[in-house]
């Protein structure tokens, strides 16, 4: 081997399978004996956004071909359960008295085939008294129409209730020479994993419940499933087959998944459930959905001294994780990369008659970054300074000891100016500005726009460490058990690299086990860009512990002092220092012990704060408003890089999703709360054809908060790219008098902005 495997472009071990026979997803568990004879579940969903249920008539559905049973909430005697985040808000897992969004599950049909279930679902008759639909999040604060009668109003979470100070309005900005204000929409988007939600359940002969789940966190689902079924957790095994993407929306467990155990118990057969894409667009959680009122103030020389943000967070029709992203993710990151001495930030989360909001790639931090980055552009425009220069002037200087911002958040390490400089240089920022000036001078129909963002985010905010076990089998091969849960990230490769680095066992001989509550009962899953810095770190540390343990075995076998034993990683064998001829391989040691393993829960002292800078270049057709994304440079400093190829993949995907939000994607409802973007033709899911090749600038500032110096990378690309793109579009038409265009910057919006500025 020679040298460290860490930091190398190691090809993904998992890809030969995915690229040839394909993964094994929940729907592919056709040979699983426990699922023999499984019937199919189809959920009947609300077709109205807000209404009182008068009656649910399932008699026609019961008579449909292949239908074995139809259940409503009443059949299970479902009781209202409170939200984890606001106990005043309660719902039943199947709507019984009231529906609150189009797509909410009302009844469950059990049929021999999925197709029969779909046909039967159309015959269930639900009689509603239609109520006013509350679709707009600001209207939700003002209306007397309550979505939850048990709560005093539609505001379900507010920083004021948490005891945080209110914003002080105009008084706050009184001393500023310059103030710029804006109201920004950070629109609702759909996570759109290629694999929609799916699950399967079986009650085994021994009374245990087995549930397979397309999830980011099997261990998180374990307790709720046990509680739902009224059994001890030990009586439940949750397993995660391959998962085709989650983007945050598969962190939590959904009603449709929780109900499968009780339904299976009732009908006495195993069950499969797989939603359709149309259902997924309505009932898998959505992301983002903030309205941001910002004011930024400072001096004419470009110094920003004041920043005020009021973020209104749409929680959708349930108080899920989305409700707490604004106070706990957006607010702490309000200052961004800037040394702003005075900051006020209030957040207010409201319920609406729309699909519930959950975590979605970035989850609260992209919203924080978009707010401050768009505000910086407004400020730059107000004082006539280049947006990159205004940023440079206000950056927090390089720090290698913790730094605390005015909003009270402490960052680990940061070197923002270097990130900005590297990105501007690589992008040839000055060159693009010169080309822009030429086109403006000529009055071309197609104008250039250049957008800059500098960002810092918080990763590893979930979990305080992770569990890992590394086991070497008597044949010398290793198995790593992790509490993280890959669904595209490449843990099979990355965790093998970390274990290999410590043990010298080749990565080809290291397997990974995850997402099985019997084999990996403890784990915090994969979310919040935590996996490498907590899960990978744990594998690295525990593999080191295993080496020490193996040394003592080797000492015994070699009849030597343990302190004299060294591991020759190239040979994968232990020997007494200076006498390599006499050695014991991993297989020798594992055989002597009947297998050898180490297992530990490795804590980390806190989250990490990746940062970077993006430059986006667009061409805007000023006659039509159409935007073309023509160049993108991304510098995302995620600390010490384990595998640059995995890092670049995360950045490419992140930039794609960020560009998608800036330019294309938006979940929309009509005024009655009917979704109008419920398939991938109407919802403008981005494709490769809409994207430029992304240039990645490498920069590594290790964090001291774990053994491998790693910060998160899974969400950075999304966070940095979105405001860069949005600002680029505005920049392309700013000389025509346009100062802001809300996302997504669709052709008609851009065209209309030009028209109204003229």
């Amino acid at each position: 081997m020679g040298g460290s495997i860490l930091g190398n472009r190691v090809l993904r071990k998992e890809d030969p399978k995915f690229l040839t026979v394909g993964g094994t997803y929940v729907d592919d568990l056709l040979d699983e004996p426990l699922l023999d004879g499984a019937l199919h579940v189809t959920y009947v969903r609300s077709t109205v956004a807000h209404g009182v249920i008068n009656s649910i008539d399932t008699s026609d559905a019961l008579a449909m071909p292949g239908v074995r049973a139809v259940f409503t909430g009443a059949d299970f005697g479902l009781e209202p359960v409170p939200s984890n985040f606001n106990p005043m808000v309660t719902r039943t897992l199947l709507a019984m008295d009231k529906v609150r969004y189009v797509g909410e599950p009302i009844a469950a049909i059990v049929s021999e085939t999925r197709e029969q279930g779909e046909d039967a679902a159309e015959t269930v008759i639900v009689d509603y008294d239609i109520l006013e639909a509350v679709v707009d999040m600001e209207a939700a604060m003002a209306t007397s129409t309550l979505i939850y009668d048990s709560a005093p109003n539609n505001v379900v979470f507010d920083t004021l209730v948490l005891g945080m100070p209110d914003n002080t309005g105009e008084a706050f900005l009184a001393g500023c020479e310059v103030v710029a204000r804006g109201k920004f929409l950070n629109q609702r988007v759909a996570p759109c994993p290629l694999e929609v939600r799916g699950a399967a359940v079986a009650w085994a002969a021994d009374g245990r419940l087995h549930q397979w789940l397309s999830t980011q966190h099997a261990q998180g689902a374990h307790g709720p499933i046990a509680a739902m079924n009224g059994v001890d957790q030990a009586q439940v095994r949750v397993r995660t087959p391959d998962v085709g993407g989650g983007f945050g929306a598969k962190i939590g467990i959904y009603p449709e998944e929780l109900l499968l155990g009780p339904i299976s118990k009732r009908v006495g057969t195993p069950l499969r459930w797989r939603e359709t894409r149309s259902e997924s667009m309505m009932a898998l959680g959505h992301g983002r959905a903030q309205v941001q009122h910002v004011a930024i103030g400072g001096k004419r020389d470009g110094t920003v001294t004041h920043y005020q943000l009021w973020a209104i967070q749409d929680s959708g029709a349930w108080v899920d994780m989305g409700a707490i992203l604004a106070p706990f993710m957006t607010r702490p990151m309000a200052s961004g990369v800037y040394a702003i001495p005075n900051i006020e930030c209030r957040t207010t989360s409201v319920v609406t008659n729309t699909t519930p909001i959950v975590a979605y790639r970035g989850a609260g931090r992209p919203e924080a970054t978009a707010a401050i980055e768009r505000a910086m552009d407004l400020f730059a425009r107000e004082i006539g300074m280049d947006p990159a220069e205004v940023r440079r002037k206000n950056l927090i200087p390089k720090f290698m000891e913790p730094h605390t911002t005015a909003v009270g958040q402490t960052y680990d390490v940061g070197d923002y100016e270097t990130a900005l400089d590297k990105t501007l240089t690589t992008a040839d920022y000055a060159g693009w500005r010169a080309k822009q000036a030429e086109r403006r001078a000529r009055g071309d129909a197609r104008q250039l726009g250049i957008g800059v963002s500098v960002y810092v985010e918080i990763t590893g905010g979930v979990g305080s460490g992770e569990e890992a076990e590394v086991e070497v089998l008597p044949n010398g091969k290793a198995v790593v058990y992790t509490g993280t849960s890959p669904h595209g990230q490449g843990h099979v490769t990355a965790w093998a690299m970390l274990a290999s680095e410590q043990t010298g066992i080749p990565i080809a001989d290291i397997d990974l086990v995850w997402g099985d509550t019997d084999l990996t009962p403890v784990g915090s899953g994969t979310m919040g860009s935590r996996s490498l810095q907590q899960g990978g770190n744990a594998v690295f540390v525990v593999a080191g512990q295993l080496v020490e343990k193996a040394k003592s075995v080797a000492a015994r076998l070699l009849e030597a002092n343990e302190n004299d034993i060294v591991l020759d990683k190239d040979a994968g064998a232990f020997h007494v220092a200076g006498t390599p001829a006499l050695s014991k391989t991993w297989a020798d040691i594992a055989s002597a012990e009947g297998g050898i393993s180490a297992k530990d829960n490795i804590a980390v002292p806190g989250p990490t704060f990746p940062f970077g800078a993006h430059v986006a270049v667009v061409e805007v057709d000023t006659e039509t408003g159409k935007v073309r994304h023509i160049a993108h440079v991304a510098c995302d400093d995620a600390g010490t890089v384990l595998n640059p190829m995995l890092l670049e993949g995360q950045i490419h995907g992140g930039v794609a999703q960020g560009a998608a939000q800036a330019l294309l994607e938006e979940v929309r409802y009509d005024s009655d709360g009917n979704p109008i973007t419920s398939n991938l033709a109407d919802y403008a899911f981005i494709s490769a054809a809409e994207l430029p090749s992304v240039t990645v600038v490498h920069m590594e500032t290790p964090t001291p908060r774990n053994s491998i110096g790693a910060k998160g990378i899974g969400e950075s690309g999304t966070i940095g790219s979105t405001p860069a793109l949005q600002s680029a579009v505005v920049d392309a038409v700013s000389h025509l008098g346009v100062s802001h265009i809300d996302m997504p910057t669709t052709p008609e919006k851009v065209w209309a902005a030009i028209q109204s500025a003229r």
Binding site: T276, T624, L664, R668, N679, A681, S687, W751
Partner: protein
Amino acid sequence: MIPAAFDYKRAGSAAEAISLVSEYGEDAKFLAGGHSLLPLMKLRLAQPAVLVDIARLTDLSYIRDEGNHVAIGALTRHHDVENSSVLRQHVPLLAHAASHVGSPQVRHRGTIGGSIAHADPASDLPATTLALGATYVAQGPNGTREIAASDFYTGFLESALAPDEMLTEIRVPKTTGATWGFQKFNRRAQDWAIVGVAAWRRGNECGVGLVNMGSTPVLATSVASAIAGGASVADAARLASEEAEPQADMNATAEYRRHLASVLVRRALESQSA
């Protein structure tokens, strides 16, 4: 996303297909490439009782030089229209327009006849063949008849075809000596056009078809008249929407569509492609 139940019949010949459809009447639909019909069925917006699959009628897949026009079999896939050397030489506008239909996967399945018979105003090929002055050939229980493209489109997803008639051939006049332009304005490469324009010009003679500017594909005759009368392209293009009644939808207001049509007609007529 799962269609309602339906019967499936596979036809071995055009005559058999027509007889099957005659037998089942309004409840039957021809299935060719399936790229318009099947999505509607999956959304349960269409629930035909019987599908008569005509995809195996390979004798209806051809592109032939017929002297003053090119004859295209209705079951010719978009991919073959796009790559036909006969069309590229004699009707390059149509070959180019076909290259903009959907994605490569769609172009390998979808057929020119299916697209035209579906009569979707947002599809590229109905408006393009309309601009080109094409003639469509329909076969029914009593033989064949020719229908001018300008008489074919009668309403939203409605055509002059009788329920028991099958579109069998598209005849497109050659555009020798003409310049042409095709402007498809959409958000993503694979999307339907928000507005599209297919145009050719030979001196003061021209044909301009509009995509997604109303309930049917639109022939912009005012533009052609203005050009014939010696108007500049810029002036003629301002008349782009004269015959159109564009609707608002989630992608565009009617006003924006009219604006786009003028810009795109101008660009299409200014194009020097030949």
